[in-house]
Symmetry: C2
């Protein structure tokens, strides 16, 4: 499925006139990402007993949004990261102006992709509603805003850090899972799936904090120690590494329990979450 | 109508949780803009014999996109402008990071506004298609990309400059006019309206070049001479001020002629174009 996603992402880009910004957007979109969100979405569709290909267009839109957030997040004015997905970050190669435009272009292309899909209009509208809400001022952007406000400040509370993680990372993971429910017409599962998505986001971010504090740049494919360099507040301001690992384990356990409540035919999602639970980078 | 637009823009922002980025987005969105695109859209709806209120939600979405493009365009990495709409530009007040996020937030909110409108789903989908195409990698962003590539370069040709103007400014004006046609179900007028939109964009930009070369900062409410400071290529690299003014006049004449082909009941659009034609800032 990952190969299909990569091929389709490349295909999407062929509809655009060549430009420096297109080059810049392609550079980050086609970098070797893990494609976690698209793969979670497709796995869940399969677990619902449907053909995962049903999710392709929505999965591409999600990866477009994820890549936009990465390109902007790495900018000098933001996290100022030099490496991403094992290569130089976008602005290091194309300059800040192109990186700003490429990010916005990817965000715009996500909505373009959703409405030029083969889904019917009711589904298209539901998806644009979901994506714009989760990526917007009450979602991912709010998480980024909290992140900025906490920079160079004393940590206030673990709760605020966790809220930030839910918003920054959980929102798009929830989008991945809720999209699957929309596509297979399981509206009643959306609330549970949203909760699972937020918990995954929280767990991912705490895992990243631990990696950032303990691993080498080469191993992760992005700059490490950057949270400390940026004087970023993280969950590790409140938790020891052991406590953080325990919190991650308990979040994954809650996720497993919530997944069991859903009436799923397969265990693809379960296996992916096991894989993410055990990841070392 | 302008008062209504301003009130409704303020209303939209109340649905979001308070944050620094929301403050930053509000600052630029509620600044005293001319609201040209929304007003053109509503004028055309009226000329079609419909209630202009029909266009409110789409007009708000358009102003959200216009404001996003301004906030990002003023960034130090882009045009590096200190003033906009008679006040300090966004990043001068809130910093670069917040300005980047606020721009993306406004863009996302535009799509959120379109799909949470009261239009039916077929219209919502048509509008998201139109807005995302015109703002994207074959539209406004492509114009910005050409603009960046021309910076610090010898001017290549007037045609390339005019193509850039069509994309940078014409795309959203065409969106304003085509949206009116979508809302009153005049699909067959869309091509003519698109052409008028591009011509308006071209004319606006050449007028701005002339203002930038001849007026004081105070009068325009934004930094002047900045095109020269940034070593920007403009139409004035190929045209004298007189030739530029003549080109603007002939574009407006073509626009008037094309408008007459449409079967309009009123002359609101005609009057607005007269007003824009005679603007001095």
């Amino acid at each position: 499925m990952k190969k299909l996603i990569n091929e389709q992402l490349q295909e999407i880009l062929t509809q655009y006139e060549p430009s420096k910004v297109l080059e810049s957007a392609s550079y980050s979109l086609l970098a070797p990402g893990k494609r976690v969100r698209p793969l979670l979405m497709l796995a869940l569709i399969k677990d619902y007993g449907h053909d995962p290909y049903l999710g392709t267009d929505a999965a591409l839109a999600l990866e477009l949004i994820q890549t936009y957030s990465i390109v902007h997040d790495d900018l000098p004015a933001m996290d100022d990261d030099d490496y991403r997905r094992g290569q130089l970050s976008n602005h290091k190669v194309f300059g800040e102006a192109n990186a700003v435009l490429a990010g916005s272009a990817l965000l715009t292309a996500a909505f373009e992709t959703l409405v030029s899909s083969t889904y019917n209009n009711d589904i298209k509208v539901k998806l644009v509603e979901l994506f714009s809400r989760q990526a917007g001022l009450n979602g991912m952007i709010l998480g980024q805003s909290i992140d900025l406000e906490l920079e160079n400040k004393e940590a206030e509370s673990l709760d605020l850090i966790l809220k930030m993680y839910d918003l920054k990372t959980g929102c798009l993971l929830a989008t991945a899972l809720e999209t699957a429910a929309i596509l297979v017409n399981k509206e009643s599962d959306r609330e549970t799936l949203r909760s699972i998505g937020y918990k995954c986001g929280r767990a991912f971010q705490i895992q990243d904090d631990v990696f950032d504090a303990t691993k080498e740049t080469e191993e992760l494919g992005k700059t490490t120690g950057s949270d400390v360099d940026n004087k970023k507040v993280t969950a590790l301001d409140f938790l020891s590494i052991d406590e953080a690992n325990e919190l991650v384990a308990s979040l994954y356990q809650e996720i497993r329990n919530e997944l069991q409540v859903l009436n799923l035919n397969n265990s693809e999602i379960y296996n992916m979450i096991e894989y993410l639970m055990n990841r070392q980078t």
